[in-house]
Symmetry: C2
Subunit: 665 residues, 2 copies
């Protein structure tokens, strides 16, 4: 396969590229050395025949998919240990579990992921010194394999509603873990079904007759030797899903299971031997972890979208269809403006997400340092911006992957395009780690408070400081510049926030309770939050590109992408801009033309940009997106891998069809 010629259309695209994609690759990796490291790591794993499937996993039964995943995961982590000898330990795990390399090795999820991503980090973050000593070594050595059990059948994002109980019994110094209802069963944790033998279980703590809210407990769920469920433990998998069918998501119920007092993770709150509850002095610490997870999530979303746009862009350069001019050869479909309109704004979004994630990562690190010094000042702002970024990036990324899939026509519907599976992974991010509408409304609370601060003349935090001035209408005339774009995005956000605040006030004045008014205004509040987020993303995109040290040709491309992202969303939401910004109906046509010119300018570099993402064929895992562009050969080769094609006549012909046809005579 690797010796194949590159499709001539694709080769020509590469020759005509106006910048050096390698420069982009180094930029995105953080330097040439980092690129080399990453490529070496990818080669180390992806060229290993033991990590390749002879029959693609999608042809297996659900049970076989799981067994195949366990087999590969065991082999994979052995290999990580080999690599560790040579370098960074945690980085290796992070990579082989993440959205780029990880989803190339185990396309449909890895049943061990939560052991490394949640079980060990939770013990490290929430266990006290003795607990870390006791558990971490065992967990690293795989004496135990853990998962993190928080979500229940009845409750997800609203964690206060969790029903699993942990009652302390001072006589035996044990907690009694119990599932009082069907809805209290744990539901979803990855690896919980048949893989993990321990779990961090989040439960409502009761001691000395009082309830103290949710706390984490380490509970053994399977015997270490026999792997059989422990007495009083009901455990199994939850069944098939839209995607991630190898993650072995499980359910877990407890019938008064007793665990030692020491199994409550006590770095923060504690229960003493006599049952005395000692409150945590730093309640807000958990927010930090949540933000960390969201940064990773946005990076993963960017990586899924990068995959999808790489596949769809290369395919669009290779696919020739229909006619633009009578008598001429069929054009590459990337020549169609409507196709460019599907691809290029999503390519731009990849960069928007990456720059926002990078900014959020920096802010997270700053705030984390402050937290160490018991300074909680910037935590609410960090939390607010991370909530709306989570919602907007996951929703846009999901829609973007789907646009890319549909832009590949029927072939995008094939599993071997890898677009359906990428969709299965990315759409899940809209729901987990905080359902998107809930996330938007959390940011909206922060924005409403900020608006009150404006009206009281109080100082504002940096991400909302624009509220002070953006609402003021000016006589300025619109021009197609990034400066004006940023201004207009802020005017829209400020205008929508003001309107929502006014509607809230009006409803409260009319006698509705604060809560009812909030609910009645919540559609607009969610839109506020989105508008605020887009203004933020656009501004960070502009600032990030300006701050880069890059060659003029690459800068030109990045600036065009930045403009395209902004102009695309401006036109998508043109009603908001006509309502709240200094843009007039007469300006819209000129902005539409700006968009069309940007598409025209970016089009020759589309393949170069996605090449710059440097996603190797094994990561793309797509008949449509491979480097060589031999789309049709690859589609055909993939079809031949179907076990149904291994014999010319399927047994069902003799077994069912023949007797049926005879009976019809």
């Amino acid at each position: 396969m690797s010796l194949r010629n590159v499709n001539e259309d694709l080769a020509r695209e590469r020759r005509n590229c106006t910048f050096d994609p390698t420069e982009l690759t180094y930029l995105l990796d953080g330097g040439e050395e980092k690129t080399k490291e990453r490529r070496d790591r990818e080669k180390f794993f992806l060229s290993d025949p033991n990590l390749k499937d002879t029959v693609p996993a999608e042809y297996l039964s659900h049970k076989e998919k799981y067994e195949n995943a366990v087999k590969k995961a065991c082999y994979l982590f052995t290999k990580v240990k080999q690599m560790q000898g040579e370098g960074s330990a945690m980085e290796g795990y992070r990579q082989v579990l993440g959205g780029t390399l990880g989803s190339a090795i185990l396309k449909d999820g890895n049943p061990f992921t939560l052991h490394y991503v949640m079980f060990i980090p939770t013990i490290m973050g929430q266990g006290n010194y003795e607990q870390q000593i006791h558990w971490i070594g065992r967990a690293w050595n795989l004496d135990m394999i853990g998962t993190y059990a928080q979500t229940e059948l009845g409750h997800g994002t609203f964690v206060r509603g969790l029903e699993t109980t942990a009652h302390y019994d001072p006589r035996t110094q044990e907690f009694i873990i119990n599932s009082p209802t069907l809805t209290s069963y744990k539901w979803w944790p990855g690896g919980l079904g048949h893989t993990a033998n321990y779990a961090v279980v989040v439960a409502q703590l009761h001691t000395q007759g009082k309830s103290h809210g949710i706390h984490p407990f380490i509970v053994q769920i399977r015997d270490e030797k026999s792997h059989k469920p422990m007495p009083g433990v009901k455990v199994g998998e939850i069944g098939t899903k839209l995607g991630m069918n190898a993650t072995n998501n499980g359910y877990l119920g407890f019938d008064h299971v007793r665990i030692p007092r020491e199994n409550m993770l006590m770095k923060n709150a504690q229960v003493l031997e006599d049952g005395t509850y000692v409150k945590s002095p730093r309640d807000k610490l958990a927010y930090g972890t949540m933000v960390f997870v969201r940064v990773v999530l946005i990076q993963d979303v960017a990586s899924y979208l990068c995959k999808a746009v790489t596949i769809a862009t290369r395919y669009s350069a290779v696919r020739r269809q229909s006619e633009l001019k009578p008598g001429q050869p069929e054009p590459q479909i990337i020549e169609y403006k409507t196709q460019q309109f599907k691809l290029l704004p999503n390519i731009a979004a990849c960069f928007a997400f990456k720059f926002s994630a990078a900014w959020l990562w920096d802010m997270y690190n700053n705030v984390a340092e402050e937290l160490d010094e018991k300074n909680f000042e910037h935590l609410p702002e960090l939390h607010a911006i991370s909530c709306c970024l989570k919602a907007v990036c996951t929703a846009d990324g999901t829609a973007g992957v789907e646009t890319c899939r549909l832009a590949c026509g029927g072939h995008g519907y094939m599993t071997c395009s890898n677009l359906p599976s990428t969709y299965g992974l990315i759409t899940a991010t809209c729901t987990y780690e905080g359902e998107n509408t809930v996330m938007l409304l959390q940011t909206a609370r922060y924005l409403m408070k900020a608006w009150e601060q404006v009206s009281r003349g109080e100082p504002l935090t940096p991400t909302v400081s624009y509220l002070k001035t953006a609402g003021v209408k000016t006589d300025e005339k619109w021009e197609n510049t990034l400066g004006h774009v940023i201004k207009a995005f802020k005017q829209v956000a400020a205008g929508k926030i003001r309107t929502s605040a006014q509607n809230m006030d009006r409803r409260v004045r009319n006698g509705y309770s604060q809560e009812d008014a909030w609910n009645m205004t919540s559609i607009e509040l969610a839109h506020c939050s989105e508008a605020h987020c887009r203004a933020f993303i656009v501004e960070k995109f502009v600032e990030s590109v300006e701050a880069l040290t890059v060659s003029p040709p690459l800068r030109a491309v990045l600036t065009q992408l930045c403009e395209l992202y902004a102009v695309y969303w401006l036109l998508q939401k043109s009603g908001d801009f006509l309502q709240y910004s200094f843009i007039t109906p007469e300006d819209i046509e000129g902005i539409q033309l700006w968009l069309e010119i940007l598409l025209e300018r970016l089009r020759p570099n589309a393949v170069g940009i996605v090449d710059g993402f440097d996603l190797c064929d094994e990561i793309l895992s797509s008949a449509l997106g491979a480097w060589d562009g031999q789309v049709y050969e690859r589609l055909f080769e993939e079809a031949l891998k179907s076990p149904l094609n291994s014999i010319p006549v399927n047994s069902s012909f003799h077994k069912y069809m023949k007797p049926f046809f005879k009976s019809s005579l």
Copy 2:
């Protein structure tokens, strides 16, 4: 399961409904008698244990899924024959293959569908009298099982580009069917992989040294007895897909396969014995069939969306989460305005699609009658409106199903919600029977011609007659009435069409060719087409509701749904309305309030409306959407059906995990 109590929240919703859902059911079916017939038919099939799966198909391997589908399909058609004794033949087939009953029996597709839906109808529509005599009887008797092979690896919607050739050889009076390239391989036909032994093959006809474009040929592809591929025929399945994995989509290549001259379907064009080509006198007839298929498609889309909104609405009445007011019980999530905003516009869309499909069906029948009298006058208009309706309904329906799935949170991601599989079915409609962007641009061509007619003062066809007056700005002040809504939608469509026409003209004046100008303007042209379609849907919705004979309570609900559909889309596209209609920025807030009031009014009837769709539990096939609302019990029962859960310890523990853990010590 059927004896279960109804969830109390759901029962209360039903008690509080202000209209009689049964009246709605009768209305949608076309009368009480029709409802009874449908229910009897559904019971006849869905209560049959032989058509139920003990292990849900999603747990099987791809090969097993196919074999299971063949088994069930054979049984199913035997049953259809039984039923035929009692009534309408073709109707029975249509029902067991359609989007409601059909997708309940074989959730992931039926490998025999194309035999009944395309193979037989094509012979009936395009075969001459002798050919019908020869083939139809055999096809009905299942002496042969056929499929329809048009799309190729290299060409789909653009049928002129098909590459398969049929060269006529007058010496032997045979056609030589050949696949000259890899891209000429047939790709996608349902049932082609391992099921069909005959196919209608669409190929480029060559005779007497001339090419005559594409024509249909009956080609035997497998031996009737052994089922082995015929000499020179390469056939197999194309592999797994996002959905419909039991349809056995196949590929097909020919190495100079000879078929008798009589196997060309010759109702229209003919090839005489000596190779003389006789042109069809009625080229335009094929359009009629395309429109028929689109009507069925829109009905299917409506049915998928009805399923999704039923599931999501009932779940939203049962699911309680978070808090609206401190200290109060968790509310049903349907109480949240943001949730209503996800559900109710999609419920409204179900009706919008149904009314548009009904209108299109009437127009199709009128035009079909005219065609019989060689009157082609209304064909272009029929074609134009059917293209944009196909694109808009399939795209909106797909987005709607996904919104419903996401509105069910994590549980919507479970296969047993039936939302992922419904998505797999509905999203395919965006691509097949004409890719949506291509469809929109076909309508746009008609609209550009209509605009020229306006400027020349020529008469216009009914669906575009609004172009004459809608563009004229008036001093009228906006009011929240349906009359004003229709007016504004038409102003938007007319305004966008005018702008696009002007941009086309400008580009042509600036020296671009007509074709380049078209491509450069195509993003706006596609938007024109969408705006035109929405104006049409809104107007037909209003007219249809007005024309109904229903009780006042039901009329009130239908009118609210009609208003909601219109107002929802007005706000979604508010930029267009501010740019082109008499709506001003000051009006928008009042329209937003109108939307919120409609949500408030419709909310108590949400469950009643979806109950009125009368989709039985077997059709919904959803743990979240069942009549009794016992969501959690059903989720748990479904999980227990996973073969992985049949034994407590999976073999992979001993085989892979244990050795791996040991090696880690």
